[in-house]
């Protein structure tokens, strides 16, 4: 969608060429497998499998680290929160007034942190390799989502790039009109003004875009497609791979006796 936001794909691998809907399905299988249980083993196994698969995505790995350094940090914070709040059973490890950490609460915290990463990473890998136009075609042609909504969303998604450009244009305009810069307060105020101006501009752009789309017959009944979205055997392989990974993950946790079904915890 935007070269400055996404991790760039540097090699056209088989995974990159998979149908976007197949990629989403695979991602969903992995996400469900991770979400169903909160335990160290399943989260760690999934994370391990995902990291092993990274080279298959053709992503620029150095860039991946550079763009997503905040993810591990966020996961740690989530884990810390859980360690503080979950059931204080097991042996006491830290007891400093209000701060009480037990072996069970720490394990739970570690599980949540690993789980957050195991959820985030596959999504990043998938999204970075999906072209929005191909995704829209596939969603309409295979999942039968309403074409008008998907195409409007696609046209709007294109505006993300435009918004970023427009942010720069607005900054240029503020400079050209002599209202940019100033002290910290002026700058913060300018930031909010620019954001609001951008939102208003977005709505106007949307209204005009709707005119332009209608002006080219958008919304008519018998629509046809210039691009035909197809499935390939590799899409089956991808999905099978995801199901195996999910099974291995859950299987490992059950075998280790740590499987901890989400709807039975805490209640």
């Amino acid at each position: 969608m935007n070269a400055d936001l996404l991790v760039p794909v540097v090699r056209e691998t088989a995974l990159v060429r998979c149908n976007p809907v197949a990629k989403l399905a695979a991602g969903a299988v992995l996400a469900v497998a991770v979400v169903l249980s909160i335990d160290v083993v399943s989260a760690a196994v999934m994370l391990g499998l995902v990291v092993l698969m990274l080279p298959l995505t053709g992503l620029d790995l150095a860039m991946l680290v550079k763009r997503l350094w905040f993810l591990p940090l966020a996961a740690l914070m989530a884990g810390w929160g859980t360690a503080l709040l979950s059931q204080k059973t097991g042996t006491v490890i830290v007891d400093a007034g209000p701060l009480l950490l037990t072996s069970d609460s720490l394990t739970m915290g570690a599980a949540v942190a690993l789980r957050a990463l195991a959820l985030a990473l596959p999504a990043v890998m998938l999204i970075a390799t999906i072209d929005p136009t191909d995704l829209a075609d596939s969603l309409i042609q295979h999942l039968r989502l309403p074409a008008t909504f998907v195409l409007a969303a696609l046209a709007a998604a294109r505006l993300v790039t435009l918004f970023i450009a427009e942010w720069q244009t607005l900054a240029q305009a503020r400079r050209a009109r002599g209202v940019a810069g100033g002290n910290v307060f002026a700058r913060v105020g300018g930031f909010f003004q620019t954001s609001f101006a951008l939102l208003v501009q977005a709505i106007r752009r949307g209204t005009r875009l709707a005119m332009a789309m209608e002006g080219r017959g958008f919304g008519a009944q018998n629509r046809t497609w210039a691009r035909i979205s197809t499935f390939h055997p590799r899409d089956g392989v991808l999905l099978a791979g995801a199901i195996i990974a999910a099974a291995v993950t859950i299987g490992a946790a059950v075998a280790a006796g740590t499987w901890n079904f989400i709807f039975t915890i805490g209640s």
């Binding site: 002599g178 875009l209 005119m211 017959g217 958008f218 629509r223 210039a226 691009r227």
Partner: protein, 494 residues
């Protein structure tokens, strides 16, 4: 629906439309019958309601956005864009790119109207070729110049081959060398499908000999309607048409300015290379420009040659890729504030606005306030102009550019030509020593055009250095501008 289904007719009876937020109707009392397959040129002064009427006919005016009177029928029914019979090119090229890849965008209209996918790529490529957009299928639509966007929008509608083709100033941003070609492409498409063709364009001579009929929109209703010969050469109509800002064939241009000997140099650049994006391709390299007091310099050349990119770089709004833009001591000494650096890129905004004013090619991009009058006041105020002086300048510009009636309107709700005038007036109100204007005259009728030309001449005579990017040869002739021709990544003085 597909090609060669022939045209549809348009019928208006007492039709009128008032935009919400406005006291005056944009169009009123329209009684009109356009036959299927007719080619019609719609004229009228800037703000007369031409675009509004086109939008209504194309059926893209949302019912909630205003108040309608009378009735309007297209092919015997209320206009309905989803019927797939109408193809519309909007006035603003920037607003109508739908998809991310060039080829996909051209196919969008064909897909909507149910064209057989097997023939789409060929039709899309043919349409791109006829509008002269020679770029790869996968070219990102976000990286197009103003004129290239206009060609793209046109290609999308030509490929659709609709029964009613509605074009709002389709050649306003296209370089003059390509206009006849683009014009012919439209006429060929019309001839092939027998579509009804409805065009708005201020430059009458482009279309006059190719259309069956000319309609002139006045304050209320139509003031002229007939064959080109009957309308343009009827002595009884001359006064009416002149009042409506129609460019009458053979009407004399204003007297060209006598250039004064140039004064001190204000801005200079040497070995300059310009580019849109930090890592993107270089648009033009090895540019040498110097701009002196009272000098008019015009950047001309084909669409996508890099004129706007150069203008933005000289205005210190884009960083130079190579070389440097330098302000001379003379420019540093002028105006309020005292920038220490000779590179305008490092000046604070307040120092910049007092010295170099830049008008963007897309007027909408530079509006920051909520009313026309405030927009005009903003610049002088930022540059430290006294209150009374500011008000006087604002009032004069409003009057001369026919915006007085709209002083309280939101800038974004103006018509295309009104927006252009406002954006130019904003910078003129500030009176910086260096003025850079990208396409100052597009979308103007003959009257507002004359006023813009007169204002530019006055500024030049008062010593302003004026750099314009323009496809408008007459304007450049009247302001007696030196030309710099862009092409193939280079620019040479003509």
């Amino acid at each position: 629906m597909a090609a060669a289904t022939g045209g549809v007719d348009v019928l208006a009876r007492g039709f009128g439309w008032r935009h919400s937020g406005r006291k005056r109707a944009a169009v009123s009392d329209i009684d009109l019958r356009i036959e299927a397959g007719e080619r019609v040129l719609l004229l009228g002064s800037s703000g007369a309601g031409k675009s509004t009427l086109l939008h209504a006919i194309a059926g893209v005016l949302p019912a909630e956005s205003g108040y309608r009177t009378g009735e309007l029928l297209v092919g015997g029914r209320p206009p309905d864009p989803t019927s797939g019979t109408t193809g519309l090119v909007l006035q603003d090229p920037d607003a109508q790119v739908v998809l991310a890849r060039l080829g996909d965008d051209v196919c969008f209209g064909m897909e909507n109207t149910g064209v057989d996918p097997a023939v789409m790529p060929a039709r899309a490529r043919a349409a791109l070729a006829t509008v002269g957009l020679d770029l790869p299928w996968d070219h990102p639509t976000s990286a197009l110049s103003g004129g290239q966007k206009q060609r793209l929008a046109l290609a999308g509608v030509l490929a659709m081959a609709p029964g009613l083709m509605v074009l709002d100033e389709p050649t306003a941003n296209i370089d003059p060398a390509a206009v006849p070609e683009v014009c012919q492409a439209v006429l060929d498409a019309q001839a092939a499908s027998g579509a009804t063709l409805l065009i708005v364009e201020h430059r009458v001579d482009i279309w006059a000999e190719h259309v069956d009929r000319i309609i002139v929109l006045g304050e209320t209703g139509l003031v002229a309607d007939g064959s080109p010969a009957a309308v343009l050469h009827d002595p009884a109509l001359r006064g009416t048409l002149a009042a409506a800002g129609v460019w009458l064939p053979g009407a004399a241009l204003p007297q060209p300015r006598t250039p004064q000997p140039a004064g001190a140099v204000l801005l200079e650049a040497d070995g300059l290379a310009v580019a849109r994006a930090r890592r993107g391709p270089v648009a033009v390299s090895d540019l040498s420009i110097d701009l002196a007091e009272g000098q008019a310099l015009a950047l001309v050349g084909h669409n996508g040659a890099g004129k706007s990119t150069t203008a933005l770089t000289l205005g210190s709004l884009l960083p130079a890729r190579a070389g440097r833009v330098r302000a001379t001591d003379r420019l540093l000494d002028l105006g309020r504030g005292a920038p220490r650096h000779s590179d305008p890129h490092r000046w604070p905004a307040a120092d910049l606005v007092a010295r170099i004013g830049t008008v963007f090619q897309e007027p909408e991009h530079q509006f920051l306030t909520t009313t026309v009058a405030d927009e005009l006041r903003l610049g002088p105020r930022q540059a430290g102009c006294p209150q009374a002086e500011t008000e006087a300048r604002v009032a004069e510009l409003l009057e001369r550019l026919r915006l007085t009636r709209l002083a309280g309107a939101h800038p974004h709700t103006l018509s295309g030509g009104e927006k252009r005038r406002l954006s130019v007036a904003c910078m003129m109100a500030t009176r910086p020593p260096v003025l850079i204007i990208d396409e100052p005259t597009f979308g103007q009728d003959a009257n507002t055009w004359r006023e813009l030309a007169a204002l530019s001449c006055e500024l030049l005579d008062a010593g302003t250095a004026l750099l314009t990017v323009s496809h408008d040869a007459e304007f450049l002739q009247v302001i007696a501008a030196e030309r710099m021709v862009f092409g193939r990544g280079q620019a040479v003085r003509a």
